[in-house]
């Protein structure tokens, strides 16, 4: 079995199983910790609307905070969009998703994917530098914060190298790219990449908690 065989075969399978099981384990474990029911009489509100409203409203900072967090807000959006486009609309990726999910979707031209991947990489490196230098971020950061950046950064870089056939044999580069994705998938449920899953329940519960008091979250 070659490295590529392993990376695209059992390696990927195991990584996916750990990813799925780990995410479910952590999500269900946190959600199912008991919470005392709030017995206070709420103001007139619709809990579902308040919860869903918070999912939307927390996508942008309130006016009073805009200037203070502008950099993080903008880089956050650029980073996520560039990442999603690179991951979800690259033709070979779609073939992979099709093999797992059973269906595919249209892809974007390779040039666009290359540009978005480079943007994503550049923004992530910028955010890494900020984390290591900004007084608050540097102070509060722990290993998870850095590991989570590196396990995403490496698949991006190896992906770009494999795409550009730079730095080695294509098969080797592809195998390394796949292995780095597998490392990311395995790390996902253990570290803060998990935020991708937790965003919805966290914002939703904030929306309902504020909503019952008549406050927009």
């Amino acid at each position: 079995m070659t490295l590529l065989d392993f990376a695209s075969g059992p390696g990927m399978q195991w990584a996916l199983w750990i990813f799925v099981f780990g995410v479910l384990w952590r999500l269900v474990g946190a959600l199912f910790l008991l919470s005392r029911k709030d017995l206070t009489k709420p103001r007139q509100y619709n809990s579902v609307a308040a919860g869903l409203g918070a999912i939307i409203s927390r996508s942008a900072p309130a006016h009073a905070f805009e200037k203070r967090i502008l950099f993080q807000h903008v880089t956050g959006y650029v980073w996520h969009f560039a990442l999603f486009i690179s991951v979800l609309f690259f033709a070979p990726h779609i073939l992979f998703f099709e093999s797992v999910l059973g269906f595919g979707w249209p892809h974007l031209p390779n040039t666009i994917i290359l540009i978005t991947a480079i943007i994503a990489t550049a923004v992530l490196i910028t955010l890494l530098i900020r984390r290591a230098t900004h007084p608050v971020q540097r102070f509060i950061s722990n290993a998870d914060d850095y590991i989570s950046i590196f396990v995403v950064l490496i698949p991006l870089i190896t992906g770009i190298l494999a795409f550009a056939h730079v730095g080695g044999r294509y098969e080797t580069l592809l195998a390394i790219h796949l292995l780095s994705v597998e490392v990311m998938l395995i790390w996902f449920p253990f570290g803060k990449l998990m935020h991708a899953i937790m965003t919805m329940p966290a914002r939703y519960q904030a929306g309902t908690a504020f909503g019952r008091r008549g406050v927009k979250a």
């Binding site: 017995l39 009489k41 966290a202």
Partner: protein
């Protein structure tokens, strides 16, 4: 009306003497950690778990914190203030604890002692950080759990401990009990302001605070006049009148429950339909938004804040206000526990507008309002005076941007802190209360 009050200077002196000669709470380090962990475990529910599992450690919350903004001290980042809870969660309760445990340092008594400064001196629990978090994490709720842990571990700051013990054991605060309230009621009676004290049955039970009795008796008199004018069937009880709850401030659950129960039991005995909270943000938050849950079932009365009550009475036509036409302007300081934590934001503005005042908004207002700097009892902590003053300066800049003639607020705690800050910095814009502003403009 003008009732003789304790001067701000004397009250500040009283605050400085609060903790004199108070011994620390003796306990072994092991016992402190054990108790803190037990408190964390009791308070760490599914909501907090989702919050702790969602944090990106982006640090944006620091940008919402007045103490961080005023000092640029990274230790004041709200995310850091709940670090002991996060550590505990990761080691003991997280679904991934088997993985985190070897990599997560256990909390120690030294940590708890260190966090006393971070969660009492350097956090007023105002919850502004809750409004900035892109994940919607209720950061202030997590910090409150840390306060619970510290309270259990005997690390409540001495000034707050004195007040907690006084409320728990004597049902008084700052030495204000039935006698002092009765004396105030008598003085008001002599000025023609009737206060129906100790009625057995009434529709409305008014509460007040020791601070109001001592420092702001005019606010109490104003509330009485408003109630009388609106024709409310009301009373205030000399045996249970204290609205403040040092239990919730300190993180001491038994005291919090006890203080709530006293009010609830008395309200039930008097058959009241409404408990009217005085100008105290945390008192309103406690009874209105925690009372029923704490008592284990719905309460047989509604809890109203002063702005809600006045606004309701004006709308119902039971209270008529004189609209001024002199172009006077005011800015309203939102007490955090009335506004983003209580949902009372529009009512005080409606009332001020009904008075014909030009209501000007600070750049950050309502749900994003800056804390006064010493909210939720933080103003009693002598060691945090410098920090409070720095935070007050942010508030002062916000007020100055409005160019308003006066600041009006709906919380005596905020008012004290703003007055002290103003006194320290020689700022002369008047800081007054909503009730007094309304009572000065009651129409026939």
């Amino acid at each position: 009306m003008n009732v003789e009050a304790m001067s701000l200077q004397d009250f500040r002196g009283k605050l400085e003497q609060l903790s004199e000669g108070i011994p620390g709470q003796d306990m072994s380090d092991e016992e402190r950690v054990r108790r803190a962990k037990r408190a964390f475990m009791q308070k760490l529910n599914g909501h907090r778990a989702v919050d702790l599992d969602s944090c990106l450690q982006c640090g944006m919350c620091a940008e919402a914190c007045h103490f961080y903004e005023a000092t640029q001290n990274e230790r004041y980042a709200p995310v850091y203030k709940y670090r002991p809870l996060r550590r505990f969660y990761r080691r003991e309760m997280s679904p991934m604890r088997w993985f985190y445990r070897p990599f997560t340092r256990d909390i120690t008594a030294a940590d708890l002692k260190e966090w006393q400064h971070l969660v009492y001196d350097a956090c007023t629990g105002c919850g502004r950080c809750d409004m900035i978090c892109p994940m919607g994490i209720k950061i202030s709720a997590a910090i409150r759990v840390v306060r619970h842990g510290l309270a259990a571990a005997g690390y409540v700051p001495p000034e707050m401990r004195v007040l907690r013990n006084e409320q728990r054991d004597q049902n008084t605060l700052f030495g204000v009990g039935a006698e002092q309230l009765k004396a105030l009621v008598e003085k008001l009676g002599a000025q023609g302001i009737s206060v129906p004290l100790d009625r057995e049955q009434a529709d409305v039970m008014l509460l007040t605070t020791a601070v109001e009795v001592l420092l702001f008796p005019d606010a109490f008199a104003a509330t009485a006049r408003i109630l009388n004018k609106s024709g409310a069937d009301w009373t205030i009880r000399s045996d249970v009148f204290e609205a403040a709850n040092v239990g919730i401030i300190t993180g001491d659950d038994p005291t919090m429950s006890l203080a709530i129960r006293r009010i609830v039991d008395k309200a039930k005995a008097c058959g009241v339909k409404t408990v009217l909270m005085p100008e105290s943000g945390h008192a309103y938050q406690t009874l209105r938004w925690e009372g029923a849950t704490e008592m284990g079932g719905a309460l047989p009365f509604e809890t109203l804040s002063i702005p809600e009550f006045i606004s309701g009475e004006v709308q119902a036509g039971r209270l008529n206000l004189k609209a001024q036409s002199n172009g006077a302007s005011v800015t309203y300081h939102d007490p955090c526990r009335l506004s983003r934590k209580g949902g009372v934001m529009q009512q005080p503005r409606d009332v001020l507008a009904a008075l014909g005042l030009d209501v000007r908004e600070t750049p950050s207002n309502q749900r994003e309002n800056y804390c006064c700097g010493g909210g939720c009892g933080e103003y009693v902590l002598s060691g945090a005076a410098d920090l409070r003053q720095k935070a007050f300066e942010i508030k002062r800049r916000e007020f100055e941007e409005t160019g308003a003639d006066a600041v009006v607020t709906g919380c005596a705690n905020c008012r004290i802190n703003l007055l002290i800050g103003a006194e320290n910095s020689g700022w002369e814009t008047p800081v007054t209360s909503l009730v007094e502003t309304v009572a000065a403009n009651l129409a026939d």
